[in-house]
Symmetry: C2
Subunit: 414 residues, 2 copies
């Protein structure tokens, strides 16, 4: 199998994967693992419990692609067609394997149950196949060579498939492929829109076919993945350092993470290093900011807590926001954001406090209007944001992202 | 096309859909719409930018299935192979269509841009195809009949595909299919595990092939979908009422929603109806409970706010939890949970208050141990929960689900 042309097809078997709510996640896992070996996935299929279509699909794939991975259809019922379909597609007989049968019977015995006759179907093996032991279920896998092409029959449940592929197939595949070193770098960026970011770094990364650059964006949080493929690790790291260095220089402190850590974790690390503490005061986000901060283990090292002041009355009684400011300026205003942050800081005794007030909508005239407050030992500042109205969850997520980034920049500037 | 056998294949075109992070969501949408017409999806494929494989895949699908839907590969670049591949698979020429070309040029002009020569590729149509207008992008779709089978060429971007399929393909498909009425019912259930629930209702729903029953479960929230398919709406509704009535009788008030509404919305409705208000006091969940309650629009009708008391000191100063109770009983205990709920209720003046205290982990001996408090006009109660330690997010989600369900049962019992 030559490296340049190594390719694979993945066939998922089972009618349940052809319903509107089901995703074949096995193929995503397999694609990642195959790519790491330098193998490209050229076609994926999902085939229902339909023997003729399955036989034809297997035959086509095995004729055209070096590796064919089948997932599912190895259970004990009539619907489990993969063994029979592979045997028919390759024109080989299915042979009964006494060792598998004994193992299955012992497995059932160990659970205090007697094996049903139907389970003997799982003891049939395509002639010439190596058996792949299943350490997490009853369906054994199979590994087959046919005219220099390889077929793998793997169980459908993701935890069984991942264990079998990871422990039994990866090494076999590596032995057939030239050595390949893959190295990745995973930046996260905040405080810039995706198109503005692309305008800055596209002139850099488009010059490189290797490393491959992928950009993903969700609600104000952008991820940049660099992936270098070389025959040695040293070469791959050198490529990453070359491209990565240019990306870092171009984006500066808009990069908040160079190892994929989320913002909450980065902020937690900065607060812990500075022996500083944090509290929050939330209105429109109703707890999302606190929830995100405490999604990181050991957040109690720096997080004191906070106030969900959803009503004006709560802002007055719990945070000391002056009633006349709420009445004259409304709750979505700079003085309310700063008073909330200052109130949270003084009432908790934390080093820093973040506040969020705004209107997420839908239904109001001011929807999408948000004020962020940040109280520090040096004073209080505020930032105004405006989002397109309409998507409540998106406004809230974007607002918390922006608030966390405001704090990060303050912590980094120290 | 006969109803019993109506089947379809979906082919997504584009190498970007063969990467580890990409899901072909179009096929999920299309499967749902086709199922609603009584058409079963029998195979799905994702094919990269590889003309030979694509031609073969189209030829196989068109020979075997009544409907073949292709998505993607209709753009203006060399990589956009769908038009050429369909033409080759069916042995028909591609014809230049001046109307499309004029429309494309006008579209570019309206954005103040001149159309690039390469965009003329999008003006080619397979001989005999009807053109499907794209109201959201530049790539027109095509509708083709071949030996009584139908091929649809649709654009890849989901918003373009959905609009084109919904406005131009659904009616054409309906005209080819016998009438079919689909009716669904969507229950949500809390306070019971999935296997216990299945033991109760499996003897009921397994007697029915129609309606079809689907059960989905995530962290203490279970959804039961019933889907009836008949030739008339009256028949479908009668089947749903028959099966649904038995499911409702078996599960009683563990069903919290019979229209798919999430728990937060159900509770909001109950509070609004009873002109009651709510506040929260959160420790381990750090704001998740408040965030969930305020994820519903107009939550300000009943939600006052709350307290994120992550430290012992915050529990003492903000909620009046006695210091000696924290010292003698620890923060994860019944008296702390009840004092937190009572403190939140008295300090906000709300009708009800929910509290959550516990250890989400990882790293502590008591991980997965949670106490929930509920303060009402009649007093305070508490509930203890223990989860398998290890998954911080799962413990927090399960804890908030259980807390919300405790409140719901109280509100329903009134």
């Amino acid at each position: 199998v030559s490296s340049a042309a190594a390719n694979a097809e993945i066939i998922a078997v089972g009618s349940e994967l052809l319903t509107p709510g089901k995703i074949d996640t096995n193929s995503l896992y397999l694609t990642g693992e195959l790519n790491n070996l330098g193998v490209e996935v050229v076609r994926k299929m999902v085939v229902g419990d339909d023997r003729a279509r399955l036989v034809q699909s297997i035959r086509d794939a095995a004729a055209q692609s070096q590796f064919v991975i089948l997932s599912g259809g190895l259970g004990p019922t009539e619907d489990d067609l993969t063994r029979d379909a592979v045997a028919e597609a390759l024109g080989r007989p299915l042979l009964f394997n006494q060792d598998i049968c004994d193992w299955l019977e012992a497995r059932f015995r160990s659970f205090g149950r007697k094996m049903a006759e139907v389970n003997k179907r799982q003891a049939y093996v395509v002639e010439g196949a190596e058996i792949l032991h299943n350490d997490r279920g009853t369906a054994p896998g199979q590994w087959l060579a046919e005219n220099g092409h390889i077929l793998m029959l793997l169980p459908g449940p993701p935890r069984e498939l991942k264990s079998m592929f990871g422990t039994l197939c990866l090494d076999r595949l590596r032995a057939l492929l030239p050595p390949l070193a893959i190295r990745t770098r995973f930046y996260r960026v905040a405080g810039i829109g995706e198109s503005d970011l692309d305008q800055i770094i596209a002139p850099i990364y488009t010059k490189y076919a290797n490393p491959v650059t992928t950009i993903l964006s969700t609600s104000g949080d952008i991820q940049i993945h660099l992936r270098a493929r070389c025959s040695t690790e040293v070469e791959a790291e050198a490529l990453l350092a070359d491209l990565g260095g240019q990306v870092e220089a171009a984006l500066g402190d808009r990069i908040y993470s160079n190892n994929g850590d989320p913002m909450e974790k980065v902020i937690g690390g900065l607060l812990r290093d500075q022996k500083a503490s944090l509290s929050v005061a939330e209105s429109l986000t109703g707890g999302m900011l606190g929830m995100r901060i405490t999604s990181v283990a050991r957040a109690s090292d720096y997080f004191r807590g906070g106030f969900l002041t959803y009503t004006d009355e709560m802002k007055i009684t719990q945070l000391g926001v002056p009633r006349e400011v709420l009445e004259t300026r409304t709750a979505v205003s700079e003085p309310v954001a700063t008073a909330m942050a200052a109130g949270a800081r003084s009432r908790t005794g934390s080093t820093y406090a973040l506040s969020l007030t705004g209107s997420a909508g839908p239904g109001g005239e001011d929807d999408g209007h948000v004020w962020i407050g940040l109280a520090t030992p040096d004073g209080v500042e505020a930032r105004e944001l405006r989002f397109p109205a309409g998507d409540r969850d998106r406004v809230r997520l974007f607002a918390t992202n922006t608030a966390l980034n405001l704090l990060r920049r303050k912590l980094c500037a120290l």
